[in-house]
């Protein structure tokens, strides 16, 4: 019964007592013939309830086998047994060991009520819910039976030693009434405390115990008022007693059976809620989750893991760890599991196999479940992006390092390259000084020769510095060009004339052939274009092998084509591909000095003009370098 309901019942019963108090006791006058069966039935019911209280309380299980329940059970065993004597000793009943009388039955009544009151007050002072040991249970049962025996012994054989409680014709003695009042006072206080405690949640039976105390007190109150057996008060008193016993039975029953059942239900609900909560957390997390049994087979997988690997949950269940993890070997997996067993938890980077067979980089955090049954779970984090970023970073660092190394080597070689003409230049200038210091040996011819040679070296230096400058513009900044329109035919002709002495010096010669007469106007930076053409002619002369170098100029499809052909050893196929590359010499043999910048710089310059360079060669057939430049609008012809 809910606390409110038991309170209402108690209030109604109290109201009944108040109403009854205004009524004459003689309102109801049952004859002894009618009262005796009623009394027997009422007491019989009360006895049965008392023994049921004992049975329920005594056989309660587990956590419900408490000191309170034990005391209540044993107390009401005594109450039931003594009520049995009370019923059999009632006036008008046949002899029960000794002759029945009002005093005898009232003695048993008071004893039973006293024990009931003491029991209720007793369980109040004991810590609620303390477990009852086996010894305590048997001691309580022993005390209960001993007490019952003592009460029987006094009631049956030594009633004369007890103050009189009932005088036939005069009614109850003050002793009986005062004892009832003491019981009533104790019961009211006990009931009030139970009531107070019943406010706490899950305080099973406390409100029923409170009601039992209150109703027992009301019953006692009624029993102080009766004058005649069979009057209104004695009948009501017995009816109230039955109600009080029912409340006690409910309290014990709830405590012993319903509470554990409800607690079980609550546990199940909590378990279900926890399960739902875990599931919703696992499905909401972005990390994959896998639960494995002791045989390392998947027993649970979340949505994120399915999403990561492309599997359905049902496909994953039962799959072994070895089938999921792309570990180097089965032994490796065993080692990890052994480590997990030793440490309880493990974090590592590995790869898992997706449904399509592709491996995916993951970081797994493995942990054992705390139940010691070998189950373990794994959070699986997708680290593909991280891995990609790492490898990208490694690649970029390697690229930068190699770029820096190339640049370092280039600077070293550039310094070396600059030193070569500087060495010659220095020697020549020092020779001039040396010759000039001699009083008579110096000749104009010698000084002139040295100055001429020095000038050649200065020219080399200037070209080198120019090349370095062009290369240094390859990056963020565009090479600045001073464009003007000029006749390429005239420019090439000048160059050929200027280079003839150099050609003769190496036993070669230069010739220029034109596809068509007339100028070929191009819009170029004169200085830069001269740099390109000089590079090509120098290169051809270097490899001329004392054979003629041929230049040819023609216009085709809006572009001027200048080819420079030598008849040297030519170029191999792989050389053709590399020859316009940057620092070509750096990559080739150490034996070859020089930066090899000439052709690279030529390519950069021609491309800056919107043109193109290419090389053709057959082995042993010499090499042909071709420069294409766009013709200025409205000039040149298509042949």
């Amino acid at each position: 019964m809910r606390p409110a309901a038991s309170t209402t019942t108690v209030a109604l019963l109290a109201a009944g007592v108040v109403v009854a108090s205004f009524l004459p006791a003689s309102l109801l006058e049952l004859s002894p013939r009618a009262f005796l069966p009623f009394h027997l039935a009422a007491e019989g019911f009360a006895i049965v309830v008392s023994l049921m209280v004992f049975a329920s309380g005594w056989s309660s299980l587990g956590a419900q086998r408490t000191v309170n329940t034990t005391l209540l059970a044993c107390g009401f065993l005594a109450v039931g047994l003594i009520d049995f004597a009370h019923a059999l000793s009632f006036q008008g009943m046949p002899e029960f060991v000794t002759a029945s009388s009002g005093s005898k039955s009232i003695f048993f009544w008071l004893a039973a009520r006293g024990i009931a009151t003491l029991t209720l007050a007793g369980i109040l002072v004991i810590r609620w819910g303390a477990p009852a040991s086996r010894g305590l249970r048997h001691a309580a049962l022993g005390v209960s039976l001993a007490l019952t025996a003592v009460v029987y012994w006094v009631g049956l054989f030594h009633l004369d030693r007890v103050p009189p409680t009932y005088v036939p014709g005069a009614g109850l003695t003050p002793f009986k009434v005062h004892v009832e009042y003491v019981y009533i006072a104790v019961l009211l206080v006990t009931g009030a405390v139970f009531r107070y405690r019943a406010r706490r949640p899950h305080a099973y039976g406390l409100s029923d115990l409170s009601a039992a105390c209150m109703v027992t007190a009301l019953s006692g109150l009624l029993m102080t008022r009766f004058t005649d057996l069979g009057d209104l008060f004695i009948v009501l008193g017995h009816l109230y007693k039955i109600v009080a016993h029912v409340f006690i039975y409910r309290a014990v029953f709830l405590q012993s059976f319903r509470a554990p059942y409800q607690s079980l239900q609550r546990s199940e609900q909590a378990l279900r809620a926890a399960d739902e909560q875990t599931k919703s957390i696992l499905s909401a997390t972005q990390d994959g989750f896998l639960l494995f049994d002791a045989a390392t087979r998947v027993v649970e997988a979340n949505d994120a893991y399915c999403h990561l690997t492309g599997y359905d949950r049902s496909e994953l269940l039962g799959r072994s760890l070895a089938a999921i993890d792309v570990a180097p070997s089965a032994q490796e997996i065993d080692e990890r599991l052994e480590q997990l067993r030793r440490q309880g938890a493990l974090r590592l980077e590995t790869r898992h196999r997706c449904k399509d067979g592709a491996p995916v980089d993951v970081e797994v955090s493995l942990s054992h479940l705390p139940y010691g049954d070998g189950r373990f779970f794994s959070f699986v984090r997708d680290i593909r992006e991280r891995k990609q970023a790492e490898s990208e970073r490694t690649r970029l660092v390697a690229q930068l390092e190699s770029a820096v190394a190339v640049r370092d080597e280039f600077l070293m070689l550039a310094a070396h390259e600059l030193k070569t003409p500087l060495t010659a230049l220095r020697l020549q200038l020092q020779a001039v000084v040396r010759e000039a210091a001699r009083p008579h040996d110096v000749t104009r011819q010698q000084v002139g020769r040295l100055a001429e040679m020095a000038d050649v070296q200065v020219g080399r230096l200037a070209r080198l510095v120019n090349d370095l400058l062009v290369v240094s513009f390859q990056g963020s900044t565009r090479l600045p060009l001073m464009l003007e329109e000029l006749d390429l035919v005239a420019l090439v002709r000048e160059l050929v004339e200027r280079s003839e002495p150099a050609a003769a010096a190496v036993g070669s010669s230069l010739s220029l052939s034109l596809a068509a007469p007339g100028p070929l106007v191009v819009r170029v930076d004169r200085g830069r274009l001269e740099q390109v053409l000089t590079n090509l002619v120098d290169n051809a002369l270097k490899h001329a092998a004392r054979r003629p170098v041929e230049l040819r100029l023609e216009a085709r499809a809006g572009r001027a084509h200048l080819s420079v052909r030598d008849h040297g050893v030519g170029l191999a196929k792989d050389e053709l591909e590399r020859i316009f590359g940057r620092y070509e010499r750096v990559a080739s043999t150490q034996n070859v000095t020089g930066l090899g910048l000439g052709l690279y710089v030529s390519r950069l310059l021609v491309e800056a003009h919107g043109g193109a360079v290419r090389a053709q060669s057959g082995p042993g057939d010499g090499a042909t370098f071709v420069v294409e430049l766009p013709l200025a609008a409205g000039t040149g012809t298509t042949s």
């Binding site: 070293m412 310094a415 070396h416 030193k419 070569t420 003409p421 500087l422 060495t423 010659a424 230049l425 220095r426 020697l427 020549q428 020092q430 020779a431 040396r434 010759e435 010698q446 020769r449 040295l450 040679m453 050649v456 070296q457 080399r460 010096a505 190496v506 270097k542 490899h543 092998a545 040297g568 050893v569 150490q590 034996n591 070859v592 000095t593 020089g594």
Partner: protein, 151 residues
């Protein structure tokens, strides 16, 4: 070309340096011969009846570099005794250069006076009578000032 002039080989692939050195040494009274690489120098030594008093040797050259030249030279008992000075523009001398057992390292760009002092010390004074075992024959100088390809 007097028989009294000590012979000096200048082995360098760079025409500017080679020609300048040959010219200056000639003016200073030496019989200077310019050669473009180690192979040419070796060929010259093996065919020449008059051996030079000194070889000025560049290290980085096409076809045959200075290291190989020196190795072959030392392996040839007829040539091994000829003193060699290295002229190099390398920023630092590699470890293997230290194994060359040369008379001098001259780092480009070097000082002319220092070079001439060294040449005089090793090859003897210019125009002086040559040692008897270096009796010079009328050998045609090798390709002076030839800048043949380094392809």
């Amino acid at each position: 070309m007097s028989a009294a002039r000590p012979k000096v080989l200048v082995v360098d692939d760079d025409a500017g340096i080679r020609e300048t050195l040959v010219q200056i040494l000639e003016w200073e009274g030496y019989d200077a011969v310019g050669l473009v690489d180690g192979q040419q120098a070796l060929d010259h030594l093996r065919t020449a009846t008059v051996l030079p008093a000194l070889v000025l040797l560049d290290l980085m050259m096409p076809r045959m570099d200075g290291y190989t030249f020196r190795e072959r030279q030392l392996a040839d008992p007829r040539l091994a005794h000829i003193p060699v000075a290295v002229i190099s523009a390398a920023p630092y001398l590699p470890e293997k250069a230290q194994q060359l057992r040369v008379a001098r390292f001259l780092n480009k760009p070097f000082d002319l006076t220092a070079l001439l002092d060294f040449v005089r010390a090793v090859a003897g004074p210019a125009g002086a009578a040559p040692p008897s075992d270096r009796a010079r024959e009328a050998a045609e100088p090798e390709t002076k000032g030839d800048d043949r390809g380094d392809r």
